[in-house]
Symmetry: none
């Protein structure tokens, strides 16, 4: 019986507690800084048990990360299906709103992703990061492809570059929900989720139509 299977057989409640504590530890301290001792201490289980479930620290990190990624995909899938008939602006707004809501509910997951950007010591970092960026980029591209087909985009717009820009702004917007100080101390995102609708609308409008006087 493999390590992963052993974990799978645990009661749902225990699995969730373990994932939650481990996500917290990794997202707060990074891969190298995270401590198995600290995790089992918080969980109140034996050190050996964690290694029965995941084999190594790498194994635990990978499990935590892919679990998080699945959650993100689930979320995006729902958004895409519900919004497939609307115009580009509405779909971007829906995506951002869903993303913000998700991140506020699971702030650790986003921070896990940020670890990937910088930490060379994370095993399989490159694979994980590439998979993630491709997933996000291709989602945006599919929205733009639809928009072009419907004639919503100016002719001169090159889709890869536009996708890059939209991805960047949306990603930073989401980052600001999870990482303190990313709004430069302006307190832009301290309120509850309803306050950010106006932000989202304005952001999408600026991206789509610019800021210059015409």
């Amino acid at each position: 019986m493999t390590a992963a299977e052993r974990f799978h057989n645990l009661p749902e409640e225990k699995k969730e507690r373990i994932l939650s504590v481990a996500s917290d530890e990794f997202s707060r301290k990074g891969y190298a800084g995270a401590s198995i001792n600290s995790i089992v201490g918080q969980l109140g289980i034996a050190k050996g048990s964690l290694f029965q479930y995941f084999g190594t620290k790498d194994g635990l990190f990978r499990f935590v990360f892919s679990h998080a990624l699945e959650r993100v995909k689930d979320n995006l899938r729902v958004v895409r299906d519900n919004a497939s008939r609307k115009d580009l602006s509405s779909r971007l707004q829906d995506t951002l709103l869903a993303g913000a809501w998700f991140i506020r509910k699971h702030p650790l997951l986003y921070r896990l992703y940020l670890q990937l950007l910088t930490d060379d010591t994370i095993p399989f970092r490159n694979d994980m990061l590439l998979a993630l960026r491709q997933y996000s980029f291709e989602y945006i591209r599919s929205l733009l492809d639809d928009a072009r087909r419907r004639g919503e985009l100016a002719d001169h717009v090159e889709l890869n570059r536009a996708a890059f820009m939209l991805d960047a702004v949306m990603d930073r917007f989401l980052q600001a929900q999870a990482v303190p100080h990313m709004d430069a101390g302006l307190g832009l995102f301290d309120g509850d989720i309803s306050d950010i609708r106006a932000w989202i609308q304005d952001l999408v409008r600026m991206m789509l139509s610019g800021v210059e006087k015409s």
Copy 2:
């Protein structure tokens, strides 16, 4: 004599070598993952010496980070002074070009900054991060304030939000120079620096005037 003073008295060449190796280690492995052993091993100096110069690992990291920040500020100062008379589009282009050039020359410094976003174990992380974002945000705001004064911006544009968007796109653009895979594997930035002028022009045009068919 304090630790910092001891470091200050070293020959310039040695100081540079120490900073360079330490930056490399921290930016690659993060704060927790970095190893003093590895640093002194690469440098070929005694472990005790490093502690004479910086007191603790924290002290070393802080010194490395603030040194990097000073370099970034130097760079931006030059850009600002040289470009103060141009219009918003030109100034953004100049900034992005200078940033890209800087990051390609000092890729480690940017990765150091990314560490700050995620690692709670970094001492004084919050202070450092806030200082950094404020510096960047205020730079963009000053560009926008000038543009409004000159009547270059549409009336409805709210400056904080616009600054946020510009900051986001530009930051991601710079990120893509330093972190592999951030361009989703499209190889957008593999060429040399002259290849990205077209990118920068298009990016700035999209930010300022949008992508939608008018």
Copy 3:
């Protein structure tokens, strides 16, 4: 019901598989290096089961070892009975041939014996080792006693010393069948079993020239 009884009640096929895998593990890695995890992993049975059969790691090792010893005794018994009428030279040759054949068929058992020579941590090691050496030594002594009775030996030959010498040479000859490199890389024993008859004849002739009545 005792642990041993529980094992005894298992189907013959299963018992053999367990003994074979355990012998392999112990003979390869020594007592301390052997891992119960590895054994049950290879067997595909539950860890708890092994402890039901043998109680402890010690118990398993002791069982494996005495089982092996019984096999050796069985083999020698057959040789002794079949060869009781021949002269010393023929009986030594028969013994060596039977020994070589046995070791090629059960190489692990011989290596198990070698473990005993060195590993203080093996439980009851001294008892086991003494029993084994006595068994072997007395077998040789009995051959020599017969030879003296038949007048095959020179008068000056002291039987204990002669037994020691014969035991030594024969043991090393057998060792060379089981342990790679004991022939100093000459490849003396790489061929199949028929190739070693000449070796055996020559070895016995050299040994006996020293003790036989001329």
Copy 4:
């Protein structure tokens, strides 16, 4: 500075104590059974120090083993030089006597060698074992080559087989000095070293009757 160099710089007395305790541990418990904790406990030094000197457990074992091997070679070299003019019988006697004396003085070293025979988990075991057997075998061969040149050997004697036999008997004789019970409980070697001269003479006579020109 490498680990080995660090050890080299220690005061002679300390180095000897460390080697002695480590040899004892390895030779008593085997590679896997030996415990770094136990070694540093006996030495009264910090665990980290041992790793500064030898890097890993493997490194420590290898150092201990090659140190032991050098001692053996030193011993043999002295014997060979002092005895080069004598006939085969005298030289074998000298070798055995020197070997017995050496083993009684350093019983651990011989037991270290026995570990090699059986333990697959010892790093570089095959290389070490082959080197050792070749060294021993070639020493015997050189004695026999000399003897043949001097016309001391019967024509029919094949040198490899004769070397094998001599090596075997002598090795077992030495083994009996270091491993209790190898004399089958007869107490043959319990006395002091002078008692074994008679043994040696008789052993050599028996061995050579088989190979010498009559």
